[in-house]
């Protein structure tokens, strides 16, 4: 230890004073409830008593036809929700960022701020706004399609089982595309001019420069965006709840793990709330998110080469 002498002699209470409040709140309100939720998943209620039930709740969740159907439906929907994000949000975000970062582009700051506006709105606003716009009663969407001669294409997208989930996923993409755009834009700006100039000398410009030089350099940012999207999607709730209600209609076709957890934990209409089954669903969500994050940290991130300039 080569710490300079002055603050070594006295007992260093100030370290505890600086750390204690943050650690106390974080432990009491986040870490402790997290583990307590995982623990509650192994209990059940009999009369007024809370009794240990082993893996019963998980057996019910995965195997009992009443529960399993809902659980696998929500999980499958959740994966579809995530896939749409990956397939649509990232390419659009990258394309917008690439356009914005082109040199000497005027009004870039304006475009950037405007495209980011949906990201700051709450799910409640976004959900209802799109519900109104896509509503067949109001007629904005059919009217606009009519104007370009495509009226026949209009369908009540949010009201049909086959299209509702995809429509909601696209609304969510519309809302969040600003985040990948910003992060990739920042990554593109850090690519040094010399590298691009050197490539230009070798005759690599335009599209080729983007695919061969810029894209490999922004792969780490794409990795971060993917894991943020994964975690965000697997505890999403607000948009579906605001647009379709807790029953995630029509006929549970937009049910994802977040809405399933809410209904199970709180109860809805005829169903009674069940904290222990809720805890079991939350534990399943925890394991899925943990698996995704570990996959990213230990597999994806190690393979991506980070370039230092």
């Amino acid at each position: 230890m080569t710490v300079p002498a002055p603050h070594r002699r006295r007992p260093r209470w100030h370290i505890a004073v600086f750390l204690a409040p943050a650690v106390a709140i974080y432990t009491a309100v986040m870490i402790f409830p997290l583990f307590n939720t995982l623990r509650l998943a192994f209990y059940t209620r009999e009369g007024q008593e809370r009794v240990f039930a082993g893996l019963d709740n998980f057996r019910t969740l995965f195997l009992d036809p009443l529960w399993a159907e809902q659980f696998w439906n929500a999980l499958g929907n959740n994966f579809w929700f995530f896939l749409i994000h990956m397939a649509v949000q990232n390419p659009i975000g990258i394309a917008l960022a690439a356009l914005l970062s082109s040199p000497r582009l005027r009004f870039a700051a304006f475009y950037r701020s405007a495209i980011f506006v949906p990201t700051i709105l709450s799910f409640v606003i976004v959900g209802f706004a799109w519900k109104l716009i896509l509503s067949p009663i109001w007629g904005i969407a059919p009217g606009m399609l009519d104007a370009v001669g495509l009226k026949g294409l209009f369908q009540p997208w949010l009201g049909q089982e086959e299209t509702a989930l995809t429509t909601l996923a696209l609304i969510s993409v519309w809302q969040f595309v600003g985040i990948p755009m910003m992060l990739i834009y920042a990554a593109l700006l850090t690519i040094p001019e010399e590298i691009l100039e050197a490539a230009e000398c070798d005759g690599i410009t335009g599209w080729a420069a983007f695919w061969k030089i810029k894209l490999p350099l922004i792969l780490p940012s794409i990795g971060i965006i993917s894991i943020l999207t994964f975690v965000g999607n697997f505890n999403a709730f607000d948009l579906i709840y605001a647009a379709q209600g807790a029953l995630a209609g029509p006929d549970f076709s937009t049910d994802i793990l977040g809405t399933f957890l809410y209904r199970t934990f709180f109860g809805f209409q005829l169903q009674l709330g069940n904290p222990h089954m809720g805890a079991a669903i939350a534990s399943a969500m925890f394991l899925i998110i943990l698996a995704g994050v570990s996959l990213y940290l230990f597999v994806v991130q190690r393979r991506l080469r980070h370039y230092q300039f």
Binding site: F18, P33, Y111, I120, V124, A129, L132, I140, A186, P275
Partner: protein
């Protein structure tokens, strides 16, 4: 010559794409705002027209202000957001200072423990959080929300602030120590002012998710007196779903404060996002 021409063409194409996407991004907000100022008939007959003398009406806003307690909701959201941000910044900076400034046994372990919460969403613990709030009597108080948002914001705050504080020169702090300043004075007087840009980044990262959250207000504080603006507008719209004037006006009123915050802070938000804080 031809090269210059293709360059102009590319620039024009870039502008065309960006303008088109900007329209897509702003269109729903625009439609909500203009229609909130129209009569019911005009809303349906000419949804894309701007309000004019004949179609102008404030009936929706009258219903909203009469029926919903939006001023109270706004005040609740404001209290929750401001107090949570204050606690995240103050407690986060204190913990970050302890971790980055002093060597003590368990330092690295403590850093790792606090970093756990960056990737794991606090919503997973909701079942036990509700139980905790019920047993401490905090359910249906704003404190329940403030504590949850503080706990949720601290991990990233400590992470960003401690990496920033490691960059502050030791000479300055040691000069303060030689002058006999206590560690607390060094933190509040010397270090905090220097990390102001990082504090702004942390604040903008947390501000909008806290303001917009629906999950925890719905579960921990759904009482009329503690509804936040997000929950309040959700419930109001659910009740008035057939009154289009009221729904559109409620949406417009919910958009307003966030847009004001965005216009005020958009530079910090964008700088925060692009400064590579999420590396």
């Amino acid at each position: 010559m031809s090269r210059a021409r293709t360059r102009t063409a590319t620039t024009l194409a870039a502008h065309a794409v960006l303008i088109a996407y900007t329209l897509v991004a702003l269109f729903p907000v625009f439609v909500i705002l203009i229609n909130s100022f129209k009569t019911r008939r005009a809303i349906f007959r000419e949804p894309l027209a701007l309000p004019h003398a004949e179609s102008f009406s404030l009936i929706g806003y009258e219903t909203v202000l009469k029926q919903g307690d939006f001023l109270l909701y706004f005040q609740n959201s404001m209290i929750v957001t401001v107090v949570s941000l204050f606690l995240i910044l103050l407690l986060g900076a204190m913990a970050a200072f302890a971790l980055s400034e002093y060597r003590f046994p368990g330092n690295a372990l403590m850093g790792l423990y606090l970093a756990l919460g960056i990737m794991i969403p606090i919503r997973i613990g909701t079942v036990a959080i509700l139980e905790l709030m019920v047993s401490t009597g905090l359910v249906n108080t704003l404190w329940a929300l403030i504590l949850v948002y503080t706990a949720q914001g601290l991990p990233l705050a400590v992470f960003i602030l401690s990496s920033f504080m490691k960059g502050i020169s030791d000479d300055l702090k040691n000069a303060g120590r030689i002058d006999g300043l206590s560690e607390y004075v060094i933190f509040f007087r010397l270090v905090l002012p220097l990390v102001r840009p990082a504090l702004a980044t942390v604040a903008v990262f947390n501000m909008i998710p806290i303001w917009n959250d629906l999950w925890f207000p719905l579960i921990l504080a759904p009482a009329e007196a503690t509804k936040t603006l997000t929950l309040g507008s959700q419930v109001f719209i659910g009740q008035f779903v057939t009154d289009w004037n009221a729904v559109l006006s409620a949406l417009a009123l919910a958009i307003l404060p966030v847009m004001v915050l965005y216009v005020l802070f958009s530079r910090q938000i964008i700088r925060g996002l692009t400064s590579g804080a999420v590396k």
